[in-house]
């Protein structure tokens, strides 16, 4: 089955063997096509050109959600990204009804094969492993493919003595894969334990929204945890909490600013400063030292 038969393939990087499907032209959900878009934060109509290159509302500064390829484009040094495990696709371990159709639809919507893109790159001239989740693919839920690709990325970083940067966006474990998706939390966390034991640097970058099983595994385990302004980060979904406690949640609950106040993120970094901040942190953690 070739889901992308009618679309053109692009090769993201010459070093990459695996072809990446081009993002579906009319279905990029973060920034709808057309000259004007309605900001989901301030509800005002904004001119699309004015949002570039960071997809930030020029009126309120609200950060629009980015797909993995858009994120890679604004994060990696030019032409340095080389994809790892780019052909991995989901199976149906639980026999979930119509899972193949759900996957095919998500692939078309997001332009990627599953919820994360991983690879190696340079950021500010520093070699690093990079994993970027994509909320356009089944809300960034973690099933076998996301868990395996992230684990392999971490293992690659460990065996090559490299740092790893992970951008998270996720609704949690992928219930369509049942208990196997829960096991991905243990798997990724164990891989990070080995990466940490090797004295290597892990930078977690929280983007909107990061919840459930991903917040309860690798997203919360960074040596340094950065968050984009306003990004939702939490274990339980807001409707679940409201249902449990029978009251409305206060404004700003579980947002990046709330997490900073409660001690669960190191810094909130607006998107235009994010690449530079990551580059500086990577440089500090790969510095050989010995100057004293």
């Amino acid at each position: 089955m070739n889901l992308f038969k009618k679309k053109n393939y692009i090769i993201l990087d010459r070093r990459s063997e695996a072809p990446m499907p081009a993002p579906a032209e009319h279905e990029a959900p973060a920034v709808p096509d057309g000259m004007w878009v309605k900001c989901s934060h301030c509800k005002k109509l904004v001119y699309k050109k004015e949002m570039e290159p960071y997809s930030i509302c020029p009126k309120c500064g609200g950060h629009f959600r980015l797909g993995a390829m858009e994120r890679i484009a604004i994060t990696c040094d030019e032409n340095t990204f080389s994809e790892l495990n780019g052909t991995m696709q989901a199976k149906n371990p639980m026999g979930y009804p119509n899972y193949d159709k759900i996957i095919a639809k998500a692939q078309q919507k997001s332009g990627i094969l599953d919820g994360v893109v991983t690879g190696t790159c340079q950021i500010g001239g520093v070699d690093t492993v990079l994993a970027v989740m994509d909320g356009n693919f089944m809300m960034g839920s973690m099933g076998s493919v996301v868990g395996e690709k992230i684990t392999r990325a971490i293992e690659y970083a460990t065996s090559h003595s490299l740092p790893i940067v992970i951008f998270t966006v996720s609704g949690g474990a992928r219930m369509q894969e049942g208990i196997i998706s829960l096991m991905q939390m243990a798997k990724t966390s164990a891989a990070l334990n080995r990466h940490a034991e090797a004295g290597l640097f892990y930078l977690s970058v929280i983007t909107d929204p990061t919840t459930g099983g991903v917040s309860a595994s690798f997203a919360s385990l960074g040596d340094v945890i950065l968050a984009e302004p306003g990004a939702l980060m939490g274990f339980a979904g807001q409707r679940v909490i409201e249902g449990t406690i029978n009251e409305k949640l206060p404004p700003g609950f579980q947002r990046a600013e709330f997490q900073l106040e409660h001690g669960f993120v190191d810094a909130i970094v607006p998107r235009p400063q994010l690449k530079d901040t990551i580059a500086r942190l990577l440089a500090l953690h790969t510095h050989k030292g010995g100057g004293f």
């Binding site: 474990a173 049942g178 939390m185 595994s217």
Partner: protein, 265 residues
């Protein structure tokens, strides 16, 4: 009622023996230890030191109650972050003093509330997964009733994971699953069947290694039956695990969780 729904009902039965009752039936000299040293003592997680055939062990588990009053004290077996931090404190203590750890799991999931989020429920669970992966002492995890989501997994990252015959383990509750799939929580029995939550299903896909039988008359009527089998199995398994070189133990534990995932390339 289908088989999975029967198991689900049995695993949630209010008379089902609790972690503290199992500890009393299996171990000797139990001394309960309290608190996470950061914020509070979570009644939903109990733990301490005991002996098994004269050897010191650390035991920790989720505690439910048999009455509403008890359950309020135990938060219906839904731990807060301080519960997971207490678990991890006791497990790190076990590592320091070279005691094996036995965990008992019986929770519908981690607590979903404002305070739990303010104190970092996600971080608390993540830390358990991360630290247990590197814990330099044997860990055996046993599902004695319900096992729901990440809140159960936090205690279930052992070298061996076992389950009592009527235990269950799922990524989310069958009610939640049914309401997402069919927009009808009432179809939970059907969802339970599809989700493969029972011990035989979990044994087949490698999520657990062993099923501990329960008596025909029900666990609540004859706990001694299951406790004696469990005690014998624990002694046997700990004998093997404690002989193992720590590096080999950790490698095997890593591989145990590393293997999960179905995909094509």
């Amino acid at each position: 009622m289908n088989k999975a729904a029967e198991v689900l009902a049995a695993s949630r039965k209010i008379t089902r023996p609790t972690t503290l009752e199992l500890i009393a039936a299996i171990f000797d000299d139990f001394i309960e230890l309290h608190g996470d040293r950061h914020f509070a003592d979570d009644g939903a997680i109990v733990g301490g030191i005991a002996t098994l055939n004269g050897n010191p062990v650390t035991v920790v588990g989720v505690q439910k109650g048999h009455t509403t009053e008890e359950n309020i004290r135990r938060n219906f077996g839904s731990p807060n972050p301080e519960g997971y931090r207490k678990q991890m404190r006791l497990m790190k203590q076990a590592e320091k003093f070279h005691r094996p750890v036995i965990t008992f799991i019986n929770t519908s999931g981690a607590y979903c509330g404002i305070g739990a989020e303010e104190r970092g429920q996600g971080e608390a669970i993540a830390r358990c997964l991360f630290e247990t992966a590197g814990l330099k002492t044997p860990v055996i995890s046993i599902f004695i009733g319900e096992g729901g989501s990440g809140g159960a997994l936090a205690l279930a990252c052992g070298d061996k994971v076992w389950m009592l015959q009527n235990g269950m383990y799922a990524v989310l509750s069958p009610e939640g699953f049914a309401s997402i799939l069919w927009r009808s929580p009432a179809r939970a029995a059907e969802a339970a069947e599809l989700m493969k939550i029972t011990a035989p299903d979990l044994l087949k896909n490698g999520v657990i290694e062993k099923i501990i039988p329960e008596p025909k008359e029900g666990l609540d009527h004859n706990l001694a039956y299951t406790a004696s089998i469990l005690k014998e199995e624990l002694v046997k398994e700990l004998h093997t695990l404690c002989q193992m070189d720590i590096e080999e133990l950790l490698q095997k534990r890593y591989e145990r969780f590393r293997k999960f995932g179905e995909f094509s390339e």
